[in-house]
């Protein structure tokens, strides 16, 4: 399945809990903000990315988003519906 991850750089304050929970998906850029890595790619990381994920990977990304103290990470399903944070 596909999910879209959006990091709001204005909300991100570099706590890096997402990187600790999900280091294969998130990293910090030079501005100390979380960005989404593209799987098995050397492309530059981005604040906004759609990834093909397994159920287990989706669960881990959800845990990473839940761990953020500023709720800077939003997650969307294939239909573009936001499933975290719950609206």
């Amino acid at each position: 399945m596909k999910i879209t991850i959006k990091v709001d750089p204005d909300l991100c304050i570099g706590v890096a809990s997402c990187v600790a929970v999900s280091p294969k998906v998130f990293e910090l850029n030079a501005e100390n903000k979380a960005v989404v890595l593209e799987k098995e790619s050397t492309n530059p990381s981005s604040y906004d990315r759609t990834l093909e994920v397994t159920e287990e990977e989706k669960e881990n990304i959800l845990l990473a988003a839940q761990s953020c103290p500023t709720l800077a990470i939003s997650l969307f399903d294939e239909e573009g519906k936001q499933f975290f944070p719950e609206l």
Partner: protein, 383 residues
């Protein structure tokens, strides 16, 4: 059905409750906490005081979340006794709550000044933030300009950001410096120079300060100096209140002592979050790592162990902050006295300090330029 009881409902306790519920839909999970409010982000309190975010945005859980997830929450309640022999805890409400497995995530308390004047404030809880908002509004309305901050660490940095945002004239009183147990004098000077360039008046005092005023704070006295201050933001550290645990025969040091599985000396009792003094495998020594990320990671790990799947806790700790535009990051173990060698690289408003033990990188402090944070975290992890 196993009965899990968690003392403390901050990010560690709530994350542990959430993880336990995910791992076992039928387990009994109870959360006992001093706070009345549902889980909120302490990290965002300063932004709330500054009016950058709404009160609603602070909350990470809605009030109905606990019931929806079948987590029994006792809010505004203190634990008064842990009866290990009979496996129950007694609360300030007079209840006895039985447990099979107990997790302690009760956190740390702020060090207080021995003065009771309106104007002295702390920044640990949402109630502290509400008090500070009211105070600032009053002082602005009264035309008061002078405020002060005491201490040289994260919370004092938060106070400096807040007071600067409101345009106050700020005095900062330091006992020794900024993060003096971690940073070299050169790196501390970068922070001090930065603050002075932003108009902060910095004073040093080895002595205790005297707060003066009639009901309302008016001035501070120290080392034969007197400075006006209608607000004093206090950030002079945290301590663990052990009375409950010592009486229960749970081993304590600076925190509650735990191994690399976050197990205490008492069977079926675990510790996580700010209060845990655990064997940190990433740096190979026992220590406390009070931070948001550590609390989340420890809670997730300990929940698995509590559920019977014994899991090692292994995560490089990190703290990041920002004081009046200056980025500061600490990674891993930056206690200077625990390092064999510290390499300091200072250049024009930036510094990088690398902490080594037995030839291996165990910690890093970055000031002004934090672009190597990820790389250094990986290096500490891989050592």
């Amino acid at each position: 059905m196993k009965r899990f009881v968690i003392i403390g409902g901050g990010i560690a306790g709530t994350t542990a409750a959430e993880t336990l519920r995910k791992l076992s839909p039928e387990a009994s999970v109870s959360l006992i906490e001093r706070e009345e409010h549902p889980l909120y982000s302490r990290v965002l309190l300063a932004k709330y005081v500054m009016g950058e975010i709404s009160r609603e945005k602070l909350f990470l859980k809605k009030p109905e979340w606990y019931q929806k997830n079948n987590i029994e929450r006792f809010a505004g309640v203190e634990v008064e006794k842990i009866d290990r022999k009979n496996h129950f805890i007694a609360t300030s409400e007079g209840r006895e709550i039985p447990y099979d497995v107990l997790l302690i995530t009760s956190g740390l308390d702020v060090n207080l000044l021995p003065f009771d004047l309106r104007g002295i404030c702390y920044l640990r809880t949402l109630d502290d933030a509400e008090y500070l908002r009211g105070l600032i509004a009053d002082r602005v309305a009264q035309g008061e300009k002078s405020v002060a901050v005491m201490g040289g660490s994260f919370i004092s940095g938060e106070f400096l950001n807040i007071f600067s945002h409101f345009g106050f004239e700020i005095s900062l009183i330091l006992r020794s410096g900024f993060w003096s147990r971690s940073l070299s004098p050169e790196s501390q000077k970068i922070i001090v120079d930065h603050l002075e360039s932003k108009g902060i008046h910095i004073y040093y005092s080895k002595d205790d300060i005297e707060c003066e005023g009639k009901e309302e704070l008016q001035s501070l006295n120290f080392e034969n100096q007197k400075i006006p201050a209608s607000i004093l933001g206090v950030g002079i550290g945290l301590h663990a209140d052990f009375s409950l645990f010592e009486d229960s025969g749970i081993d304590v040091g600076k925190g509650i002592l735990a191994n690399e599985y976050l197990e205490t000396n008492a069977p079926d009792i675990f510790a996580a979050g700010d209060i845990a003094e655990f064997n940190d495998l990433t740096i190979k020594r026992s220590r406390m790592a009070p931070s948001w990320t550590s609390a989340v990671m420890q809670a997730r790990t300990v929940a698995q162990t509590m559920m019977g799947e014994r899991t090692l806790f292994e995560s490089v700790s990190s703290y990041a902050t920002w004081i009046l535009g200056l980025d500061i990051v600490f990674l891993g173990d930056t206690l200077r006295e625990a390092a064999d060698d510290v390499k300091v690289n200072v250049s024009s408003g930036k510094s990088e300090e690398l902490f080594y033990r037995k030839g291996k990188l165990v910690g890093a402090a970055l000031i002004g330029d934090v672009s190597r944070r990820q790389e250094l975290t990986n290096e500490i992890k891989d050592n």
